[in-house]
Amino acid sequence: MATMQLPDTLKPTEVALLYQSHHAWLRGWLRSRVGCSEHAADLAQDTFVRLLRARQTSPLKEPRAYLSSIARGLMIDQFRRRALERAYQDSLAHLPETDIPSEEHRLVILDSLERLDRALHQLKPRARQAFLHAQLDGLSIIQISLLLGVSKATVERDLAKALKTCYRLRYADA
């Protein structure tokens, strides 16, 4: 499929202008928060990449507020990813030797878990719980509906919603 020009993003020239005016400020803003200037430079770069893709057509009224909100989101994503990686290493350490997957398989699992984790965080708590019970606890729709005290139809809707989120994350870049 041919790449489409997205009509609803800022023009690259506008982003370039924003970069000139605010990049140094953003780096400083980030440095004071993450405490490491290299890390801050990376995050500032990622912020502008994100800005290029952001659905935003009109010129920014308060560019610094907008940039810092993107940067804050990136910081939080990164903390989440690191937290997940740490938890994964901890969990692997708890496994008996024979159950530890191969290096390659370990990365495949981590990749899936990262997507699952991101999907879970886009769901409402009930849908999230239902989905975990179905996927990881092996519970059926009826069991989940008893556990959560909602109708079967509600559980079905929650599971479908969760799978749609996973699908989007899995195939969006394909």
């Binding site: 910081m75 699992i109 990881l136 519970l139 729709i141 079905e156 749609k164």
Partner: protein
């Protein structure tokens, strides 16, 4: 014929997902397979959508269960929900209050971690005002201190507060159904879907719900319903037990005991109607819920069936 790199339309993907839910997690009737085959043959893109969706389903089903659960819960302990993160993000910008968090050099990870607990976890915090705060299992709070007041929002679960009498700012606790106010006290607030429990051990608290504020004095417990109705109650178990890591009950029906225990245990814990009214007494260590189940099997005429680690049934022995 569709080529593999052609993406099926969202509507077909949605249908495929509905089928996956029915076939894998539901109890499909005898006609389901035939209906599914009919749907598949309706359009070549249905097959394509199904292929992608079932691949995704296989990928998820193939995840090692224990490893995945541990990892997701572990990361949950270190992080907190996105909604909370966004709120905390806003607080970070304001940069006011939150002194006990700000002491951490990097701030953010500790700050994210300290405001929520996973199922089975308890955590103790110290407020910048010197208050001691404890979070019970599956709980989350926001803290906000300003020059004139201290404020704790109980987003979910249960929290105990032992305020520092030296700090004279009023302390507010916000919950879904009521707001509490105290100048100094040791209180416990427990929020569930349908009600709120407020217990006071020291000092007193004013519960603002409906038109007239209600005072709760030391030694009293108040139940507030979602509609604002309230009454003083004698709690069926020691409400403070969890702050010491125990569940302490006297003559509590097994069904209620099991519901209470389930708060501390991920997954499904159920008890059969035949044994629901057996009475449980004793003090149990919350750190090991499996051991509590074993103790129950020894002291009551019940047996514990482990269907999976996360689905346990209690039935007549």
């Amino acid at each position: 014929m569709p080529t593999p790199d052609q993406a099926p339309a969202q509507a077909r993907v949605d249908q495929a997902i509905d089928w996956l839910v029915r076939l894998r997690f539901g109890s499909p009737g005898p006609d389901a397979q035939a209906q599914f085959q009919r749907w598949l043959s309706l359009h070549p893109h249905n097959g394509l959508a199904w292929q992608r969706v079932s691949n995704l389903g296989d990928e998820l089903a193939g995840l090692p269960k224990d490893l995945s659960r541990r990892t997701l819960q572990g990361s949950e302990r270190q992080g907190i929900s996105r909604r909370d993160q966004l709120k905390l993000g806003a607080l970070l910008v304001v940069g006011s209050g939150l002194g006990w968090m700000a002491r951490e050099p990097l701030g953010l990870p500790e700050l994210l971690a300290d405001s929520a607990t996973a199922t089975g976890e308890r955590r103790q915090l110290q407020g910048s005002d010197g208050s001691r705060i404890q979070l019970n299992t599956a709980s989350a709070i926001d803290l906000r201190f300003t020059a004139g007041q201290r404020r704790l929002a109980l987003l979910r679960g249960e929290v105990s507060l032992d305020s520092n009498p030296a700090d004279k700012r009023p302390f507010f606790i916000n919950t879904r159904v009521a707001t509490l106010r105290t100048l100094d006290g040791q209180l416990l607030v427990r929020q569930s879907d349908h009600d709120l429990l407020v217990a006071v051990r020291r000092g007193e608290a004013t519960v603002m719900t409906g038109a007239t504020p209600v005072r709760v004095h030391s030694g009293e417990t108040l139940r507030v319903q979602a509609n604002g109705g309230h009454q003083a109650i004698t709690p069926p178990s020691d409400p403070w037990g969890w702050t010491e890591g125990v569940l302490s009950v006297r003559q509590m029906p097994l069904a209620d005991f099991v519901a209470e225990l389930n708060r501390y245990r991920p997954g499904l814990l159920r008890c059969a109607p035949a044994v629901a009214n057996l009475k449980v007494s004793g003090t149990y260590q919350l750190a090991d819920t499996n051991q509590i189940l074993q103790l129950l099997a020894r002291s009551l005429p019940v047996r514990i069936d482990y269907h999976t680690r996360y689905w346990v049934n209690i039935d007549a022995a």
